[in-house]
């Protein structure tokens, strides 16, 4: 029975994290982006510095009419937001927040599972693009597909470099094996993984598939109300998951200056929010990349860099025994 209770508690914790963290990142994006542009951002909702802005947005989305275009493929159209958001929830299950089994699902193949499931999230957006029966959506969907094809490769290479360094595919095992000297050793892998992850989440400056000013949010064009809100939530959940994975693989996850066992979750949270800040910072600072620049970055820079990192990891691993 205690086992069952423990599982229920862990699942509740993951559900709570999934409900709260993306909203915190979204609110941080509102405020950080505003201040980086010399603005204040939301100031009214909730009374104090607009803390309830995203809650208010959610209420507004919930009131909206549920529209499905006449020519759309109804089943796929309705399924797409769920396919986009559920994978990120699943990835949170395998993120370790502390040593000695402080993880919901301690998979031996945790890294493999996380990367595979994250890829499915992208399928949701492609489904949306295809089923909307709208040329902009289709264009956006195709761009997402192209982006997934090119960025999945360096992302997997970089992640496998961390796995190689640790000698295990288990996320808990990778954090256990982490040492401070991984920072210089795996620096290239860290950058490649993070950048490729950003591209996979279609965050600016890699938001060519959405490009609201030219193809009006691409695959999300025909979506409104709650379904659109789910896509937005999936984007922020994606940021949380990407930041968490980057922290776990390259920044030592729950490792902190002291009390790893008790405060591991806090160290991980600090790292996640620091990385989420970087995500927002990059979004504010850089203009959108053109489609050909996007592809060139992946194939001409990230893939060779990731391969170089793999070689470096392999050589050092053999040299150190």
């Amino acid at each position: 029975m205690p086992d069952l209770l423990e599982i229920v508690l862990k699942l509740a914790a993951v559900a709570a994290a999934f409900g709260v963290l993306p909203l915190l990142v979204g609110q941080a994006e509102h405020k950080v982006m505003a201040h980086m542009q010399g603005r204040l951002g939301p100031m009214y909702a909730g009374g104090f510095h607009g803390w309830a802005q995203l809650v208010a947005d959610g209420v507004k989305f919930a009131q909206k009419e549920d529209v499905v275009p006449a020519a759309a493929d109804r089943t796929v159209f309705k399924l797409a937001p769920a396919v986009a958001i559920v994978p990120y929830l699943l990835v949170l299950l395998v993120i370790p927040v502390g040593p000695d089994g402080q993880v919901v699902l301690d998979l031996g193949l945790g890294l493999f599972f996380a990367l595979a499931v994250m890829g499915i999230g992208v399928i949701g957006a492609i489904m949306a693009g295809w089923s909307s029966a709208n040329k902009y959506s289709l264009l956006g969907g195709m761009r997402i597909a192209a982006q997934l094809m090119s960025y999945e490769l360096p992302m997997v290479f970089a992640a496998s470099s961390a796995a190689m360094a640790a000698g295990t595919l288990s996320l808990s095992g990778i954090v256990e094996a982490w040492h401070w000297y991984w920072l210089p050793w795996q620096a290239i892998g860290l950058v490649v993984f993070f950048v490729a992850g950003l591209a996979e989440l279609r965050r600016p400056p890699f938001d060519m598939p959405l490009a609201d000013s030219e193809i009006i949010l691409g695959p999300y064009t025909e979506y409104g109300g709650l379904r659109f809100a789910f896509f937005l939530l999936a984007e922020y959940a994606g940021i949380v998951v990407l930041s968490a994975l980057t922290a776990v693989l390259f920044l030592g996850g729950w490792r902190g200056p002291f009390l790893d066992a008790e405060l591991g979750w806090l160290w991980l949270l600090v790292k996640v929010f620091a990385l989420a800040f970087v995500v927002i910072w990059l979004r504010v600072s850089y203009p959108r990349m053109r489609e050909d620049q996007l592809q060139k970055l992946a194939w001409a820079w990230l893939v060779p860099l990731a391969l170089a990192q793999l070689a470096l990891t392999g050589v050092l691993r053999v040299a150190l025994g």
């Binding site: 201040h35 204040l40 910072w281 600072s285």
Partner: protein, 198 residues
């Protein structure tokens, strides 16, 4: 009521600072442009925002703001110059002539009395020609701007309201110390110098 705003940075003022020298070196390195972009946004984040929370905080308007045209009714002589010069004919003036009884041995004097002075702010294009053309200093610019109405007809404001706005007219600005002296002063000084010579 008006609050002092944050200092407005003058363009190019940061060029002399050491930070600028560092940034221009960084900008020349490969990928330095990317770092520079990040630095700009981060620096902006640490500075005060320039947003004014308008309904809560009154904007800090410059003294020559063209908010509304105020009428100093006591100075108006009903000469009609403003109404005639107005490009879109938005000034309405009605008046009648009043005869003052003769004083002493002189004849009776007549003078104009203003009955109606109204500006239709739905037509006014805020060119300020009426203010410029008034020879008796009866029209002034006021920075007051909160006079929106729900009906376009209500934007025609009568002389009582225009007179009220006189209280919001700021005092004239001091002369720019490095500017040219006013023509009157220059002429007077020239005349004084001529007088000293002879």
């Amino acid at each position: 009521m008006r609050r002092a705003g944050p200092p407005v940075p003058t363009p190019g003022a940061h060029r002399g600072t050491p930070g600028y020298a560092i940034m221009s070196t960084v900008g020349r390195l490969p990928g330095g442009g990317l770092a520079k972009g990040l630095a700009v946004t981060l620096r902006t984040m640490t500075r005060r925002t320039i947003t004014r929370q308008y309904p809560e905080v009154q904007p800090d308007l410059p003294p020559r703001s063209r908010g509304v045209i105020a009428l100093f009714e006591e100075n108006c002589t009903v000469c009609m110059l403003c109404a005639r010069e107005c490009p879109d004919w938005c000034i309405y003036i009605d008046s009648h002539k009043e005869t003052l009884p003769a004083e002493g041995g002189g004849r009776a004097r007549s003078r104009n009395v203003l009955d109606r002075f109204a500006i239709d702010f739905s037509l006014c294009m805020y060119c300020g020609i009426c203010v410029e053309v008034c020879p008796f200093d009866a029209l002034f610019w006021s920075p007051e701007f909160e006079y929106a109405e729900y009906d376009i007809a209500e934007l025609t404001h009568e002389k009582e309201r225009l007179r009220e706005w006189m209280w919001t007219v700021p005092p004239p600005q001091a002369h720019d110390p490095s500017g040219e002296p006013p023509k009157e002063i220059a002429a007077a000084e020239k005349a004084a110098a001529r007088g000293r010579k002879t």
